[in-house]
Symmetry: C2
Subunit: 653 residues, 2 copies
């Protein structure tokens, strides 16, 4: 057995004790009630984890639909809708419920997301009273199923360029919805292949021969289970995962809907064919519409964190049970988690999962405040949208990575479907793509940083940014972050002066924060300068952007990681003294230092890490892993994942 | 459109032209014939890619079995067996066939591996004439199916500690095979759940009350399709992937086999119960037996490279077809592969795939030479085993990473099963675990380096190494690599003197090689010194090893990457002048520099990269990506993957 934790012991280190129940309370926060309801529901329907494998695809889809409707009856899935229509009137609770639901079968999760988040959210946020009255009550119970028909075969990321058209026929007072061309068919649409009766269809609105940009329409696609005339639906067929969700393709051949089918919160067409909108700029109008749907990204981010928790719980429990190789011929074989390498593989992922959990708390709260109207202005919305995009990207990549590492850490046993990783991996894979491709989302985040979330930002398409940065914002950015000024700001970031970062303790939160803040500021200035240089040289904006793109992504990552570390640090700071605070402090240090370590090349390249200090950080990460190791089981138990969700009888039992 | 390749154009850079057919000849090498046979067979059975989704698990298993038997009839799968039994007598060709088979359904591949590689290989290499005569002819045709029963629920990596026991009963002249305890059941055994009639069972041999270590026995498990008395077989059930292979668990309750069932090439038991072996040391005997099975690791390494090729071919073809976002409002949307970020995501993976292909050529050739007897001695065997282990680890991790990146690079379309990634990802996932867990394999590689492949190495279990290094070998290692000597050796590595690495051209192969050689040497000395210090301090060997484990893994990686770069560099050097050589030269530079870039923190920490040079390398990687971009389609086409294997009609069509 390996009991040789010499260095901590020598330095008088005392192992903190975790109060698991109290830690769960910290994690569940103000939403303990709804989270426990979801845990109860998950346990009641735990059999779906097996049914997912055993049932044929058709039966599995029906089973998932039934579960969603039954869960809806408990109030779990309607938290985000106003009380007057039968909802719970609590947006934060709605997201918390979704996060918790990610402990279970992810087809159930995604079906809930499609029905109540995408379809229901579009009706709620893009529609007006007439749509709410007509659809919300039945939609909230799941009696009325719908789909969200935005993505097309040809356009997933660049949805401003969709090919579906809605032409206003003033004589009939109807819109005519038409799929124009091969790539314009709606695709990958959840609920489309089987269950949706209605579709919220995003289409280019044409009124009187003039294009007014993309708008959303409520279009019946099925009546009594039969596809209606003019609509063609094709099944997307088997997918890597999420086969309990019926994704499909929809094409419209001149389908007519009445004028009131336009979801008219942000724009309307008068009966005689005059287009009206309170938002004049078409780009800003479109992004305002999209912005109301930000809850989807916040939800997927939380689901990513949830999926990572399931994987890490199984792998951690396995690693304190499974032995392999003995330290001496007569000794017992060693537990996997007593190997330094195994600690290195799992524990930084555990720390990052906690970090993302607390970062998710912040973005969920922002969402709640904006959409509950307690703090809603244009600037708050832009901050929220950026933060949601960035958190979604980092959380879902983290999920992919954590699931993979945990599967490998469970060896061949991890490959058996009964041990959960098969579904977890296949189902969560698409999280990095849907609700916005992660790379596109990070570019959005960077765009916000470069333009300081200025309102002009909304008027721009992606490459507009390049020109915009050149002509308008770059001076501001450079002024704020020019080489000279940057130096001053860095000094501001380092409370003990410019040399302080060479002497500060590695475990000083101020040091850790200063490091990630410096990285972000420096990268921001670097990207701005590169863009400006390219434009000044009169090079093709597309090529300039293409060449600077990896820096753009790095900047956005650095920004989001800074937000995540701030959220974690702040959470630790506000906890009462005690074992839980000490334990989370260790975990926060592990997250901060392993994050700096992962990018230590950059810090060295930019003069913020000496060689000696860089090596010291790696040693400290190893030390922290050894300190977290005895806490690992408590730390995963505190997530409160119902044991039925872990399955894996041979791994964790 | 992005046509702005300013820097290459300005410097008079001329785009090389690739002769795809000639490049395929380079890649296929001396095994073009067998590879083309496999391509033909893959195309003939292309429907299995769809059947894998459509058939139930039982029917899919039968289908895969049938295909394997039918392929066997073409001679494809028997290349590794001697001609006198109906084989092809060409071990290299056998591996080349397996590599090519990885373009298709991976259940077929793994079934072939189980039947002809593991089961057939054990009979061939551990058995003697009597076993060859009895089993090889029917085994090669697939009439006789068997399994390789080594792994147990409790022991996958530490197979010296298996729990199954074979006791010799001298009176009956029989061995009695018994599963002792819960964890001792054979598990994850391919062919066991359904098709195997025979099992090669690895068990602790006990003769006259004395344990003689693990040996292999031929044990009938089915007769006419029915499981025989004393044997219990359980289906492992559904797995993440490879569901066309029938994995199962086997338990033995005092099953009796005659004395001749012992595969007695390396040890035998006389009728009256005397144990005899030409290899005295039990550890060395065991590793000698295992060593004969090295072909499995070489084969899986090649399969990993093949799976990566399929993924990269689809993603590359998609990226030169798919457009998203326009550089200017009036312009066409840009092709994905014209984005700098997209190049960064795919092209270094493409370069690494080529690098691993040529590294695989080397290890396959070594295997062929050792097992054909042209170059077979103990040292050559140890080098081969180390190289096979290391290449397997790097190639299979590369496959996992490439498949994931390529799926994400194909967006939502990549998630549909019809587009190939679903099966590719699920099926290849276990490559990092089977035939040796990658982390365990890399420790084996490091062990070889630390002991200079000394013969004592074979006598040691994993932790024996720690004591061994302390008591015996560390002086040698340190002597060869001590701080002072190391400096001299580094000077040797840098042909232009010690400062040369700061001035040499980044594209000079000698510079690139010197960098990865220096890294390996330095890491080797570092690990040796750390181990020695721990042992000198009389600390618990297990803890010493645990703490140094991440350095051990880093060392092994560095070693294998050095071998891979040497293989690629050498291949480029020996090609005739022309477009293909120039193109592969670019790719080799991209591999070398992106490898150094990925570890640039280490090089900076160890004084081998200045900050300026580190940044210059990143810029050069970007430049190389832009130069490789126009060649990308030709480079993937040269792999000669039959178009039927790509499926993905919407992505590549």
């Amino acid at each position: 057995m390996v009991t040789d934790n010499a260095s901590p012991a020598e330095s008088g280190y005392v192992q903190p004790e975790i109060d698991v129940r109290a830690l769960t309370e910290v994690l569940d926060g103000e939403y303990a009630g709804i989270r426990d309801l979801v845990r109860t529901n998950l346990t009641a329907y735990a059999s779906v984890l097996e049914e997912a494998e055993e049932l044929g695809i058709d039966a599995y889809r029906e089973r998932v639909r039934d579960i969603v409707v039954e869960m809806a009856a408990t109030g779990q899935t309607g938290m985000g809708f106003p009380g007057e229509f039968g909802g719970g009137g609590d947006i934060g609770a709605s997201v918390a419920a979704f996060e918790t639901l990610a402990f279970g079968d992810l087809s159930v999760l995604v079906k809930v997301g499609v029905q109540f988040g995408l379809f229901g959210g579009a009706i709620l946020h893009l529609g007006t009273r007439r749509h709410h009255d007509a659809y919300l009550p039945d939609l909230i119970t799941g009696r009325l199923m719908g789909c969200f028909a935005m993505t097309e075969t040809g356009h997933g990321s660049n949805v401003q360029a969709l090919g579906t058209v809605a032409t206003y026929d003033a004589a009939a007072q109807e819109f005519v919805i038409t799929t124009r061309g091969e790539g314009a068919g709606k695709d990958y649409i959840g609920n489309a292949a089987r269950h949706a009766e209605l579709a919220v269809v995003f289409a280019q609105l044409e009124v009187g021969g003039k294009g007014e940009g993309v708008h959303a329409f409520v279009v019946p696609v099925r009546d009594g289970g039969e596809v209606v005339p003019g609509v063609r639906i094709e099944d997307d067929g088997r997918k890597m995962g999420l086969n309990g969700v019926d994704n499909g393709r929809i094409r419209f051949d001149g389908v007519r809907v009445r004028r009131e089918a336009l979801l008219n919160r942000f724009a309307d067409v008068t009966p005689d064919g005059v287009y009206e909108s309170p938002i004049e700029n078409p780009g800003r109008r479109f992004f305002t519409m999209l912005g109301t749907l930000v809850q989807g990204r916040v939800s997927v981010a939380g689901a990513g964190v949830g999926a990572a928790k399931v994987a890490l719980t199984i792998a951690t429990k396995y690693a304190v049970r499974r032995r392999q190789f003995a330290a001496a011929p007569s000794a017992d074989e060693q537990l996997l988690l007593d190997y330094g390498l195994h600690q290195r593989r799992l524990l930084p992922l555990l720390a990052r999962t906690y970090a993302l959990h607390f970062a998710q708390d912040v973005v969920r709260t922002q969402l709640h405040d904006v959409f509950s109207g307690t703090e809603d202005d244009a600037h708050a919305r832009r901050l929220l949208e950026s933060r949601a995009a960035g958190t979604k990207a980092l959380a879902t990549w983290h999920a992919t990575r954590a699931v993979q590492e945990c599967r490998e850490a469970c060896g061949g046993a991890g490959y058996l479907s009964v041990n959960r990783f098969a579904a977890l991996k296949a189902d969560s894979d698409i999280f990095t793509t849907f609700e916005g491709d992660n790379h596109v989302l990070l570019q959005l985040v960077a765009k916000g940083l470069l333009t300081h979330y200025a309102s002009e930002f909304e008027d721009l398409d992606q490459l507009g940014t390049v020109r915009h940065v050149a002509s308008l914002a770059v001076e501001t950015v450079l002024e704020k972050t020019s080489a000279h000024k940057l130096f001053e700001r860095v000094r501001d970031l380092l409370p003990g002066g410019d040399e302080w970062d060479r002497e500060a303790g590695l475990l000083d939160p101020e040091y850790q924060l200063a490091m990630v803040r410096f990285r972000e500021e420096h990268m921001l200035a670097g990207v701005a300068r590169r863009l400006k240089r390219g434009i000044d040289d009169r090079r093709d904006p597309g090529a300039v952007f293409s060449q600077v793109q990896d820096h753009v992504i790095a900047l956005a990552r650095a920004h989001v990681e800074r937000l995540v570390l701030e959220a974690f640090t702040e959470k630790v700071r506000e906890l009462p003294e005690g074992g839980n605070r000490t334990a989370l402090g260790l975990l926060c240090d592990l997250f901060a230092l392993s994050t700096i370590e992962a990018d230590r090349a950059w810090f060295m390249e930019h003069g913020r890490l000496t060689v000696q200090r860089s090596k010291a950080i790696s040693r400290e990460v190893n030390d922290l892993c050894r300190k977290v190791r005895p806490l690992a089981v408590d730390l995963v138990d505190a997530w409160g994942i119902p044991s039925e969700m872990l399955r894996a009888p041979d791994l964790v039992g």
